[in-house]
C-alpha cells in the first residue's frame, strides 16, 4: 500500500510541475462548454424546452459537466498506446513488482485532482460572478449516493480507456480509432447536451452504452434529478459495467502480452 502511496506522491509532483498543461486542458474544456452555453442563451432563453429543460437548468448542467469532465475523465490511452506499447516502455513496467493497471490508476489520479480543482474553481467563479443558480441535491443520503455514482463512473471511464489504450497491441496506427471514439463519447456521455434532449434513438444507444454513466448520470445524480431508488439502480448497473469491462481488459491484456515484443529496452 505504501508503494502505491509513493507512486501517487511522485506523480502528484509531476502533475503539479506540469500544472500549466493541466490548466490548458481545462481551458479547452471551458471554451467548449462556454460556447454551448452561449448558444443556448439564444436558443433556449425565455422558454422551456422539452423534457423540462430551460436556460438556467442547462447552464447548471454544463457547469457540472465542466467539473465532471475535468475530474472524472482520464486521458491515459495515448500514453499507453504510444509510449508504452508502440515505443516499448511497457517492458519497464512488466519488470516492476506491481501491476500495470494499478500503476496507471494511481498515476492518473493526480492529473484528475489538479484538473478537477481547476474545474471546481471555474464553476464556483461562474456561480459567484454571474449569480447562476446551480441545482444540487439537498438530501445528504442522495449526495452520498451521487458521490458513489461519480466514483463508479470514473472507474468505468478508466477501464474503458485502458481497453482502448491496449488495442495498440494489435493496431499500430490507432489515432483514427481514438478520434472516432472521442466523437462518439462526446455525444453519448452528455457533453454536447443533456441526453434527454437528444433524439430517441440516440438516447437509447446512450443509455445501453457505458458512456452515459461516465458523465451524464453523475451530473443528474448531483443535481438531484434521480430518486434514491434510481440512484441505487444506477450504482448496480455501473458495477455490472465495471465487472464486464474488467473481464474484457484482463482477456485483452493476456492476449496482448503474448503479442508484445520490445527491443532494446
Amino acid at each position: 500500500m505504501m508503494r502505491y502511496g509513493r507512486i501517487f506522491l511522485l506523480y502528484f509532483q509531476h502533475a503539479f510541475a506540469y500544472r500549466s498543461m493541466s490548466f490548458v486542458w481545462f481551458l479547452t474544456a471551458l471554451i467548449d462548454i462556454s460556447l454551448v452555453i452561449f448558444f443556448w442563451n439564444g436558443a433556449a432563453a425565455g422558454r422551456t424546452f422539452m423534457a423540462g429543460w430551460n436556460f438556467p437548468s442547462l447552464v447548471s448542467y454544463y457547469l457540472f459537466a465542466l467539473v465532471a469532465g475535468s475530474l472524472l475523465m482520464p486521458h491515459m490511452e495515448t500514453d499507453i498506446s504510444r509510449l508504452d506499447i508502440q515505443q516499448g516502455g511497457l517492458s519497464a513496467y512488466l519488470l516492476k513488482p506491481f501491476s500495470y493497471i494499478n500503476f496507471k490508476f494511481i498515476s492518473e489520479l493526480p492529473w484528475r485532482l489538479i484538473g478537477g480543482s481547476f474545474g471546481c474553481i471555474a464553476a464556483l467563479l461562474c456561480i459567484y460572478v454571474f449569480h447562476i443558480h446551480v441545482q444540487v441535491a439537498s438530501n445528504s443520503m442522495t449526495l452520498l449516493l451521487a458521490i458513489c455514482v461519480a466514483g463508479l463512473g470514473y472507474m468505468i471511464a478508466f477501464f474503458f480507456k485502458m481497453i482502448i489504450g491496449i488495442f495498440a497491441f494489435w493496431i499500430i496506427e490507432i489515432r483514427g480509432l481514438f478520434e472516432a471514439i472521442e466523437v462518439i463519447m462526446i455525444i453519448l456521455m452528455g457533453n454536447l447536451m443533456p441526453l434527454n434532449l437528444l433524439p430517441q434513438w440516440i438516447q437509447l444507444i446512450a443509455y445501453i452504452s457505458p458512456f452515459s454513466y461516465m458523465i451524464y448520470f453523475p451530473i443528474i445524480a448531483f443535481e438531484g434529478k434521480l430518486t434514491q431508488i434510481q440512484l441505487v439502480q444506477t450504482i448496480g448497473i455501473e458495477l455490472l459495467w465495471i465487472g464486464l469491462l474488467y473481464v474484457i481488459y484482463q482477456k485483452l491484456w493476456s492476449a496482448g502480452l503474448r503479442k508484445f515484443s520490445a527491443v532494446g529496452n
Binding site: Y18, S20, M21, V24, W25, L27, T28, I31, D32, L35, V36, F38, F39, N41, G42, A43, F49, M50, I172, E173, I174, R175, G176, L177, E179, A180, V183, I186, I187, L192, M193, L197, L198, P199, I202
Partner: protein, 262 residues
C-alpha cells in the same frame, strides 16, 4: 519570393511522397478528418433540432455555416495545422536553433514544412454538405459567388493562421505547453457559431473575438447571398493587420528565445 515558391513546391512534392511511405498514417488521418468534420455537422444538427431561428440565422443557414466551417478549416489544416502541432516541440527540444541558422525565414519554415493531405476528406465532406444544404434552400450560386467565396476563404485562412501563430509564439516563453495546440483547436470552435451569439453574450467578448467571428460567417454569408461589401472589406483589412502583427510578434518573441543546446 520565387525562391520561397520553389521551396514550397518541393515541400508539397516531398509531403505527397510521404503519403505512400506512411500509408497507415495517412489512412488514420483521413479517418480523423472524416470523423471530426462529420461531428461538426452532426453536433450542430442536434443543437439546432428544436430551433427555427437563432441570433438572426435560420436553422438551415446555421447548417450552411457548419459546412463552410469544414471547408475553411480543411484548407487551414491542409497547409498549416500539422506544423503548429510540432511548433512547441521544436522550441522545447531546441530544434529552433538549427532553423534560425538556416538562410530562410524562420516563420515560413515553421509554418510550411508539413502538409496534411488527409484534410482533403474534410474539404469533400464540407463541400457535399454545403451543396446539399444550398439545394435544399433553393439557393443557386454563380461564378462570381464562387469566386468571392474562395477569395474570402483565403483571407479567412490568413486570419486563422495569424492568430494561431501569435498564440503559439507564447511557447518561446513557456515551452512546456505542448498542449497549446489543443487549446487552439478548441478556439477554432468559436467560429462555428453565428457572430450574433457573441454580440448578445457580451460586447467586450465580441470585440475580443471579432476577427474570429468573421472567418466562417463572411464566406457563409456570400453563399446565402447576405454578404455586404463592408463584410468583405473588414475581413481583408483584419487579415492584413493580423498577418503583420504575427510577423512582428514572432520577431519580438525570438529576442527571448534561450536555446537549449548551446
Amino acid at each position: 519570393m520565387k525562391r520561397y515558391f520553389n521551396i514550397y513546391k518541393a515541400l508539397l512534392r516531398i509531403n505527397f511522397a510521404n503519403l505512400f511511405a506512411y500509408r497507415a498514417n495517412f489512412l488514420n488521418g483521413m479517418i480523423a478528418s472524416f470523423v471530426w468534420s462529420s461531428f461538426v455537422i452532426i453536433s450542430m444538427t442536434l443543437l439546432t433540432a428544436n430551433t427555427k431561428e437563432v441570433f438572426g440565422w435560420k436553422r438551415e443557414e446555421i447548417l450552411v455555416l457548419s459546412g463552410t466551417y469544414n471547408i475553411v478549416y480543411s484548407v487551414f489544416y491542409l497547409f498549416f495545422s500539422r506544423n503548429f502541432e510540432e511548433f512547441t516541440l521544436r522550441i522545447h527540444f531546441g530544434q529552433l536553433d538549427s532553423i534560425l541558422t538556416k538562410p530562410i525565414n524562420s516563420q515560413f519554415f515553421l509554418s510550411s514544412w508539413n502538409v496534411g493531405y488527409n484534410n482533403i476528406i474534410r474539404f469533400l465532406n464540407g463541400s457535399w454538405f454545403l451543396i446539399f444544404m444550398l439545394s435544399r434552400m433553393h439557393i443557386g450560386f454563380s461564378f462570381i459567388t464562387l469566386l468571392l467565396f474562395f477569395i474570402t476563404l483565403l483571407f479567412s485562412v490568413s486570419i486563422i493562421y495569424s492568430i494561431w501563430f501569435i498564440i503559439m509564439s507564447i511557447a518561446i516563453w513557456h515551452s512546456k505547453l505542448s498542449n497549446l495546440v489543443d487549446l487552439m483547436y478548441s478556439i477554432n470552435g468559436i467560429t462555428r457559431y453565428p457572430d450574433g451569439m457573441y454580440k448578445k453574450s457580451s460586447a467586450f467578448l465580441f470585440i475580443i473575438l471579432f476577427p474570429l467571428t468573421l472567418v466562417v460567417t463572411t464566406p457563409a454569408r456570400i453563399l446565402i447571398h447576405k454578404a455586404q461589401f463592408t463584410d468583405i472589406a473588414v475581413l481583408i483589412v483584419c487579415a492584413g493587420i493580423l498577418l503583420y502583427i504575427s510577423h512582428k510578434f514572432w520577431n519580438f518573441a525570438l529576442r527571448f528565445y534561450t536555446s537549449v543546446s548551446s
